[in-house]
């Protein structure tokens, strides 16, 4: 079955991302959901079902039911590492496409700053195998392997940080709104070599929400619904570092999810006008260019170095929002925030960071040690 043109986004909302010490998860969920309700011009009573994505900030459908007082409808909590948000969206899309529901809500959120946790802690639950691993360590090992394979160094990574922080200055809801220099990025304190502090996305609080409905009904809510053209999800090994054949210079989960989404949409990378991708670390964005087919294998670092990833770089702009790097990464929220961002561009509402004449956008969410890839293609016609 193909999801193309069966489902439409009719409203999107997003809370302010950041160190939201003054806001609870409830505050952010309500902020994002009401933003989306308003955007879609619907009343909460019209929501027939909901999906909520969070890595670890809550369990069960009550994560949404209680703050939104959204009682007596089916709500499902989705967890798929850092791709929890987009997978919640994907499940919502499939439920609508199946004909079961007309109007549903997909919301992602994460409240990370209420604990003193430094970044994402170790995952895995084995007493010794993989003990002490951190999120940045898994991507840093890819960076060192990429450097070894293509003979480059960390100045190549800095280009991603510079671009995304620049874009972030134009995103009012971004966690960080500041420029960074190559010197600052390269000389930032090391987190996991070669990744320094400014190669890493921040630890952020936030929530994002979208309202989706059956395509035939979309125009009864708004004149310019965003159509879902394809949604792909792929899960590969969660222990890639143990897999003897793993090259560590790309993530097959991304490539496979992209291929599935492109096939459903009947498109290729050439048809895409903008990309919001999962730049949890600068190296990840470079690998994403290659895995999403924006450039050839081994050319990702050139794609950003030559300015092609810029908003007006003459190729496909990547992360006009500022990406995870600058907009922030409240885990469960990110995938939905990407749908929100792409929709803003397709609606022509992205302000200073607007990608001109954007008609087709791609959003890419990545989870775990590069093991869960989720790709969505959206278009305004």
């Amino acid at each position: 079955m193909n999801i193309r043109d069966k489902v439409a986004v009719i409203g999107a909302g997003c809370s302010k991302f950041g160190e939201n010490y003054d806001k609870s998860a409830e505050d952010m969920i309500v902020e994002a959901a009401h933003d989306a309700y308003t955007d879609a011009r619907i009343d909460p009573s019209q929501i027939q079902a909901a999906w909520v994505g969070t890595l670890s900030s809550a369990s069960a459908g009550n994560a949404l039911a209680d703050p939104l007082k959204l009682f007596n409808i089916p709500i499902t909590r989705v967890e798929n590492y850092c791709a929890s948000g987009m997978d919640a969206f994907r499940n919502a899309c499939m439920a609508v496409a199946s004909g079961m529901y007309d109007v549903v809500l997909a919301l992602g959120f994460e409240k990370l700053r209420d604990s003193g946790q430094r970044g994402l802690g170790t995952f895995g639950d084995h007493p010794v195998v993989g003990y002490g691993t951190t999120a940045p360590s898994l991507f840093a090992m890819a960076a060192n392997r990429y450097f070894e394979t293509y003979g480059i160094d960390k100045t190549a990574l800095a280009k991603v940080a510079i671009k995304n922080h620049h874009n972030g200055t134009m995103s009012p809801k971004a966690h960080f709104r500041m420029e960074v220099s190559e010197d600052q990025v390269v000389n930032a304190p090391l987190i996991c070599s070669p990744l320094g502090l400014l190669d890493c996305c921040p630890t952020t609080d936030g929530a994002a929400a979208v309202i989706i409905c059956k395509e035939e009904l979309a125009r009864s809510f708004r004149a310019d619904p965003v159509k879902v053209k394809g949604v792909g999800l792929s899960v590969t090994s969660g222990e890639p570092y143990m897999k003897p054949s793993f090259a560590y210079t790309g993530f097959p989960a991304t490539a496979q999810a992209a291929q599935s989404a492109y096939e459903q949409a009947g498109m290729t990378a050439k048809d895409i006008d903008l990309v919001e991708c999962h730049d949890c670390f600068t190296i990840t964005e470079i690998l994403n260019y290659e895995d999403l087919g924006l450039c050839e294998k081994g050319e990702g670092w050139r794609y950003v170095a030559e300015g092609r990833a810029n908003i007006d770089g003459g190729a496909v702009p990547v992360n006009p929002s500022g990406g995870l790097k600058s907009f922030g990464h409240p885990i469960g929220a990110t995938g939905i925030r990407m749908i929100y961002e792409v929709s803003q561009h397709l609606w022509g509402k992205a302000g200073d960071r607007q990608v001109k004449d954007a008609e087709v956008g791609l959003a890419h969410n990545l989870g775990g040690p590069g093991s869960v890839g989720c790709v969505t293609i959206l278009a305004n016609s």
């Binding site: 003193g116 946790q117 430094r118 970044g119 802690g121 170790t122 639950d125 084995h126 007493p127 010794v128 195998v129 993989g130 003990y131 002490g132 691993t133 951190t134 940045p136 360590s137 840093a140 090992m141 890819a142 960076a143 060192n144 392997r145 070894e148 304190p189 090391l190 987190i191 996991c192 070599s193 070669p194 990744l195 090994s237 222990e239 570092y241 143990m242 897999k243 003897p244 054949s245 560590y248």
Partner: protein, 466 residues
Amino acid sequence: MVGIVSYGSYIPSYRLPRDVIAKEWDGPSLGGERALASFDEDSLTLAMNASIDALGDRNPKAVAGIFFASTTSPYREKQAAATVATVLDTGKELRTMDFSDSLRAGTSALLTALDLAKAGELLLVCAGDARMGEPDTLQEQNYGDAGGALVIGSENVIAELVGTHTVSQEFLGTWRTEEQDYLKSFPGGFENKFGYNRFIAETVQGLLQKCHLEAKDIANAAIAAPSQKALRGALRGLGFDMKSQVQETFWNTVGDAGTAQPLVLLAAVLERAQPGDLILVAGYGDGGDAALFRATDGIASFQVARSVYSQIEVKRTLQSYGKYARFRKLIRKDYATEDESTPVVLLRDQKQILPLYGGKCPACGVIQFPIHRICTECGHRDGLEEIKLSRRGTLFTFTNDYLTETPDPPTTHAVVDLEGGGRVFVQLTDCEAERVEIGMPLELTFRKYHEGYGIKNYFWKARPAE
């Protein structure tokens, strides 16, 4: 012919200069340096790594007994010898025993093994110690950490047993009760005068008399000693030439390594022994033990995996008392990450964790770790064959992680491709962050990853290969 078949030693790579300790307390320095077990080492890993070298390529299933000696065994109740046996992959049908609670436990284990070897058995004796002197005492400077191991048997011996002698004597010189964190020594010269000097003299003389030999017949003597000075005092008047006949105690470079010390000194002597040499080893504590060996022709061609002298040379100097204090839990730090240790998984995955077995796919032949139910490469469903993985390999990729909490940052995570197949994801140790590079040759070393719920979680790490 009963005797020593093989031997190994292990000196941890960290050295703590005694000046660093003295400076911390604004007190006198004894000079020199002491070997220091890192945060991921303890008496068990010290003995373990010496045992791996001592056993070498010998069939582990042939070992009939493993004796572990220490005064600082990682558990108060729980045998360490069983862990050594499991890591060495001996199988279950053997005798394992811990010798403890006396400084003499190392030589006592050796003498017991020699007796059992007379029945034709192959045995492995190992000792490791990381003793704690109270902060701001001279003992804190004096003790050093090390491990030693001997394979004892009746075939292919490189040093045959000539005789043994033991003196057992009630004496309180240095002790530690259940309630005490640190060793206590009675102040002044009491212990040396009425304990150490007397027992060493009695034991050594007793052995020589038993064997109808004189001091001048001995080529080299490996005698445990709290210090070089104490050893000189004990041997005074016995007819030994300190320079040519007595192995120096490595007090200046390693320190007093407790139960492991006589085994390490013996290893140093064996490294340089010639066929026909008469070699004496003696241990002290609640009396004394001594054994005499004659080097055989086999010693000329014996290749030691890692010599004591080379390990003394290859070192990393720790200039921080704070780090030492963190390693030894003198200063404790609460880590944010909750530790959920469980003996259940340690048992279930024992074969993978301790003797390091991986799986080999019968369909595609790919060797993998851990042992998956379904092949990670080709999807073969009917199980993998257990295969013992190599302990040498090269670094495929890595990162120096400053985020993971550890007493000795950074934590270097390493993806290691093992010789002969298999890829493991482990931590790198004994290696400064700036030395790490893709492609570097590595060897695996047995270490402690972390502790939680009172459980020590041992597994393999990688370190630069020599």
